[in-house]
Assembly symmetry: D2
Homo-oligomer: 186 residues x 4
């Protein structure tokens, strides 16, 4: 919702100004992004909604970002699907894979024996996939990107940030461009 | 952004369910709104952006609602326009009007004498109009509506809530309808 | 931090009032809690800091409460301890226990084989214990209590809410008392 | 609440580490403050409660900082006191002072004539003093300090930030010291 135009409108109501030439909006966004301390509020009027499927250990980090809205597949109300993350290079006959399969076997036995789903899920590892909807404004998105694109971030999470950055650059080219140069320093 | 469909998608990802008949989504929203405690997160995926013009005393109450994004016309960067709220029934020759006019006269004199705008605005009363952009999700909007439609709310603020409710009912008829019956009890 | 006195001060600055008799503060808190819509801001000035140790599946629900601060034991930086939740009535020779032990055995083998901790944790189930520090104001605490004391909440989470309510009643007897009667309806 | 110790505990639970020598905690805080992107969550466990009295135009900027709790003297429930900001160098016989006095004269006439306080306040200028209680964690406090200590901030607001910084340095000397050197670059 909104895109670069929402950022510009948010800024121009403050200054009651209008663009005088074609590049004015782009220069305005560049200044807002580059200033220290940054002007966060103008970036909050553009809002994204994403559908995400990722391992639980990635989702746990993700949901620590509190300025956003989440709704996640509930393993209290739904049975888990047999889908889990296998790191690159791990073969199908690896003990890792055997263990993940065994955990789903046990999970299904526990359910068949009358355990509640909310309790049986205790045996499912953090590599199991979950799904959620994530609604987030561009400011909070950039905060997540900055943290998750960092070289110290977990690579499995960074892959999602890389993909999200590419979409961000398509949808809000001016703002994302200013972010990449001013904040990421690329 | 989103409308009733965003609420339904937020809920259905939790339960991994699909609507089986035409009224299923409406019944789902009704249940989510009616339950105690309410399920707030599903209502956060629908987002509104409003342009508001109101007296400063209304804006001050409004901006106490923190789960939202605001950008306001700045009286540091722009000179104030001579526009202020006059309560119904107050005549053009009322001392109230004379005083508001005198405050703008003084404001302009102070600016002409070299005062900074940010300091000269000290003489302008809370009845002066301001403008802002308000981006808010449907959950936070309903919290504002509930508080500002209350009979104890200031009537000048309630008028804005009445107008916003009518727009809410047009844009998200199912969710707004459930809100009006379950929360407002109308 | 603060206790009942912080709530009273928050309210009395609004009204610029003072207690005229010994029961005045208690009646004031009762009215604030009982009114519809509730006055949330006055309850935000009392702040709690808790140390929590719980299964990951409980922590995941807990951290969905966003108006709070969390710092959790990181399985990126620390190796996991062999501690996990065993539901009441599950015997030491139950396949559940055997599986949880097997998951730690594999986890340790993976670490020994050079896997990073952040990746090896994928095999550890949601029943494994985690620890975190939780800083939360009384308003957000009550929202968590209301949701987690609900009969539909997961029993493993409800136990924590029961324990927290007892502490809340000790530390802020007047506010917690009004909460129990007005909101929980007990 | 908490002080430097709360920051240290928040960080040490992540790493499950303990200080090995007297300077270890100070070096830990220094690293957390200096890293890019900064680790905000550990700074959220220390919480401050302030009593503030300031002109309305300062309060309006202040309350735009949303990660905090506010309760303000209400001009719906209390009559305004005749107290307003007079910039340095403005004499007692200045038109500014005369106008502020006239606004209170009119305000009192309107009240005497039966106007509601909530409406009569419309004539009172933004230089009138208000009071509020502000509960804020150290992270959000530092964000406010960074923005309000900036040379471009309004001087009337900067004075409050200067005073708050001095108190911050007394109460949390290690964290505030790291903030001053790493963030403010002083």
């Amino acid at each position: 919702m909104g895109g670069d135009g929402a950022v510009v409108r948010g800024a121009r109501i403050c200054y009651q100004s209008a663009a005088r030439d074609p590049g004015a909006d782009e220069r305005l966004i560049g200044r807002l992004m580059h200033s220290t301390p940054r002007h966060n509020t103008v970036f909050e009027h553009a809002v994204f909604r994403w559908g995400v499927k990722c391992p639980i250990f990635v989702a746990r980090q993700w949901m620590r970002h509190r300025i956003a809205s989440y709704n996640e597949k509930s393993l209290r109300y739904c049975a888990a699907d047999r889908e889990y993350y296998v790191p690159e290079g791990v073969a199908a006959d690896d003990p890792y894979v055997a263990h993940m399969e065994a955990s789903f076997d046990l999970y299904e036995q526990l359910l068949a024996a009358g355990w509640k789903r909310e309790r049986a899920r205790g045996v499912l590892g953090a590599a199991v996939y979950t799904e959620f909807i994530w609604t987030v404004n561009a400011w909070s998105l950039m905060n997540w990107l900055e943290k998750r694109l960092d070289p110290h971030a977990q690579p499995e999470h960074r892959q999602y940030a890389d993909a999200a950055l590419a979409i961000y650059q398509q949808v809000m080219p001016i703002t994302a461009g200013a972010f990449v140069s001013s904040v990421l320093g690329r």
